[in-house]
């Protein structure tokens, strides 16, 4: 089999398909999206062997995977790091209930926040859920991780987190494929009571989960994802997690001169750790994201020997992703001569595409509201329209997390703000906005909700929006007065009319919804290129 050049995300997806995957669910989010894109485009889905869908949010994705695992199938949910917050409830409790068919949760963290609101490290959730985790070091390990994790999950009856970070998710590497395993048959759990987390039963299941931690540690100690290699220079021992292992080898020229513990499976392999801690007086910890391992080694107060250095001690930057240069600096490797940086380049922030419907929505909003704070506040959300915060629009005031626009506007309105506007995308609305709008209706909140409906999940590449063309009916069903559910087309030619609609609904003293609907120009363009026009067509 010749080598293939795959993104870390694609390698993981192919690895899962080759490891007997039956079900894959996900909500798109950078940098995790390509895992499920790859599965959806695979022959395994086309021939009906694998079920895969984009879901309304990460919680529903993980619950669907848990259900597939319940009936014995190998299943996975894929999400970005902040999506794990949304799915935290099923994540933590699924560890107590356990897995029947192998269950993996693929989470792509985004240190340096290339396309995210924070850089939280999903490994911290391991301490809440007491769940094992695989952290692949490269694309080949990303390919091999699902088979290993499914097997671990089924033998130990526990879901397994697979943690990726941006630079593995979105980096291609040459990988060699392995054998393709058969899929599991339908098979109900032989001990179904463990899925009933009533307090009396949950206490027993939780106690068993705690007891099994020693087994999980032993799994880590014997795992091929963890490896101790000796080195002649024992002045410092190196612990390198995930892709940091590659950076260490790279800057060391391929062979590390120091004792090196590669960590790719958690809980932390205690025996291997003790070995390196006893061998070296100083330990340097390289890990992408939080100083997770480092903090565990240091304890409080810091232990006297060996000395542990890393992100907490200033030997590496406390925030942001690792780079080969940062690793080389921490190892005391001399900087290479390089060209002088140029002072000429200026920042080039991302921007809404020319012709984007959100631009028209932002412009109309700004005209109605004028400048802040007297002109009210536009609470916004996660999506392309968040770029409306930047010049030349400066039309939105907040972006905190998925769905926060509606409920923050409601809280602010009740606390005295007027006008209180929420600007939320179609997919973000169905992800986490519906329940907030129900609250608005129940409290008769004086908020104006603008749903920027571009009929797709645009920022992540144009996945289908889960309630396409059903938003007005959904809002009416939640109890919004039909006279105050308005649909407009955000286009420069409709600017004056749209301003009028915004002004009317801002003046209405109860919950109103304006659906600003026009297809994303990127998806419209792609569709037009795929299907050459035969008269008529979409003239937008």
């Amino acid at each position: 089999m010749p080598a293939r050049l795959l993104l870390g995300n694609e390698a993981l997806a192919q690895g899962a398909l080759d490891a007997g995957l039956s079900a894959a669910y996900a909500y798109p989010g950078t940098p995790s999206t390509e895992i499920t894109e790859y599965v959806l485009n695979s022959p395994d889905v086309a021939d009906g062997g694998v079920v895969s869908h984009w879901t309304a949010n990460e919680k529903t994705a993980l619950e669907a995977a848990l259900g597939a695992s319940y009936v014995g199938r190998r299943a996975m949910a894929s999400l970005k790091h902040v999506g794990l917050n949304v799915a935290a409830d099923p994540f933590v409790n699924s560890a107590i209930a356990g897995a029947n068919g192998g269950l993996i949760i693929n989470v792509a963290d985004d240190p340096s926040m290339h396309s995210s609101q924070n850089e939280q490290d999903s490994r911290v959730y391991l301490d809440l859920a007491l769940m094992p985790c695989i952290e692949p070091a490269d694309q080949q390990e990303a390919y091999e991780a699902p088979a290993h994790a499914f097997d671990l999950s089924e033998r130990r009856r526990v879901p397994v987190l697979i943690r990726l970070t941006t630079r593995l998710s979105h980096s291609r590497g040459t990988i060699t494929l392995g054998e393709k395993l058969p899929r599991n048959p339908f098979s109900l759990p032989d001990d179904p009571k463990r899925y009933v987390l009533l307090p009396a039963l949950a206490r027993q299941s939780y106690a068993r989960l705690v007891e099994r931690q020693a087994d999980f540690v032993r799994e880590s100690e014997e795992s091929r994802f963890n490896r101790y290699t000796d080195g002649p220079d024992r002045s410092v021992g190196i612990i390198a997690c995930g892709i940091a292992h590659g950076y260490v080898l790279d800057v060391a020229g391929g062979t590390c001169p120091h004792p090196l513990l590669k960590i790719g499976q958690y809980p932390i392999p205690k025996a291997l750790l003790e070995k390196i801690m006893q061998t070296c007086d100083r330990i340097l910890v390289f890990e992408e994201g939080f100083p997770y391992v480092e903090a565990k080694l240091r304890g409080l107060p810091a232990r006297s020997s060996p000395i542990v250095h890393g992100r907490l001690t200033g030997h590496l930057p406390r925030t942001g992703e690792l780079t080969p240069q940062a690793v080389a600096d921490a190892l005391g490797i001399n900087r290479l001569p390089a060209a002088e940086p140029s002072p000429i380049p200026v920042a080039r922030p991302p921007a809404l595409c020319p012709g984007c419907p959100h631009a028209s929505t932002c412009n109309a909003l700004s005209e109605v509201l004028g400048s802040r704070p007297k002109g009210g506040v536009v609470f916004s959300d996660i999506g392309c329209y968040t770029l409306g915060a930047l010049p030349p629009y400066e039309a939105i005031d907040t972006c905190v997390e998925m769905g926060a626009s509606i409920t923050m506007a409601k809280g602010a309105a009740a606390a005295g703000l007027h006008p209180a506007i929420a600007l939320i995308g179609d997919s973000t609305f169905t992800h986490s906005g519906l329940t907030g709008l129900l609250d608005c209706v129940n409290e008769n909140a004086d908020v104006t909700v603008v749903i920027a409906d571009n009929l797709t999940i645009a920022m992540t590449g144009g996945q289908p929006s889960s309630a396409e063309n059903r938003l007005a009916a959904i809002c009416a069903g939640l109890g919004v007065d039909c006279n105050h559910i308005r649909v407009i087309e955000p286009h420069p030619r409709n600017h004056a009319d749209n301003v009028t609609v915004f002004a009317e609904e801002v003046a209405y003293p109860g919950p109103s919804v304006i659906i600003a609907q026009r297809e994303c120009i990127q998806t419209a363009g792609r569709r037009a290129r795929r299907k050459p026009r035969q008269g008529g067509g979409d003239a937008r």
Binding site: T33, G254, L336, V346
Partner: protein, 201 residues
């Protein structure tokens, strides 16, 4: 054989396709390849870059280390300058001369091009003019692939095969246009406006 390359451009210029073609060409030759790219929010008209590495030996890092890039290949001149610190003292900069001005404080064009011309090994190509003349205006990324090809240490046939693989789903005419753009870039003259730039054979 061990190449470290920074590809630089702006969202929408086809930088990831450029990266895919070179990566595919190297892979098909049996080389180990690593290529890091940026997805998501950054692609909306913002800065897009890719780290591309290929070698006979094993590669461990997806990212190029500061001071080790053999080539900065840029689809936009200001973007070429953004990554000079990655360049090794013997590295080359190959850049499109056509500025993409989508920010209000874009520097003077002559300052940008002048800064590139100061570099010891540089090649400036007007991908717009070259592509327009050859009927491949939409394939500026492949014109720049051709312009950068002398620094890639990959046979031209391998790069053409890479184009055919990467664009295989787009039909014969798209492949043909991209291959033509590549050849135009290979043969591209130095823009008349630029001073003497050194260029290895």
């Amino acid at each position: 054989m061990n190449r470290n390359i920074i590809l630089a451009g702006v969202g929408g210029q086809g930088l990831l396709a450029l990266a895919a073609v070179i990566g595919e060409a190297a892979r098909a030759l049996g080389l180990n390849v690593r290529q890091a790219e940026v997805h998501g929010m950054a692609q909306r008209g913002g800065v897009v870059q890719s780290h591309l590495r290929y070698a006979e030996r094993s590669l461990h890092s997806n990212l190029v280390r500061v001071g080790t890039a053999d080539l900065v290949l840029a689809l936009e001149p200001m973007e070429a300058l953004r990554y000079l610190s990655y360049l090794s003292p013997t590295g080359a900069v190959v850049s499109n001369t056509v500025p993409l001005v989508n920010v209000p404080d874009y520097p003077e064009e002559k300052d940008v091009l002048g800064e590139i011309e100061k570099l010891e090994i540089n090649r400036l190509v007007d991908a717009g003019a070259v592509g327009k003349e050859g009927g491949a205006l939409q394939a500026g990324n492949m014109v720049m692939l051709g312009a950068g090809a002398p620094f890639l240490e990959l046979p031209h046939e391998a790069l053409i095969a890479g184009i055919e693989t990467v664009f295989s789903g787009k039909g014969a005419s798209i492949i043909e246009t991209n291959v033509r753009a590549f050849r135009l870039g290979l043969a591209a003259p130095r823009p008349t406006s630029t001073s003497q730039a050194s260029f290895p054979p």
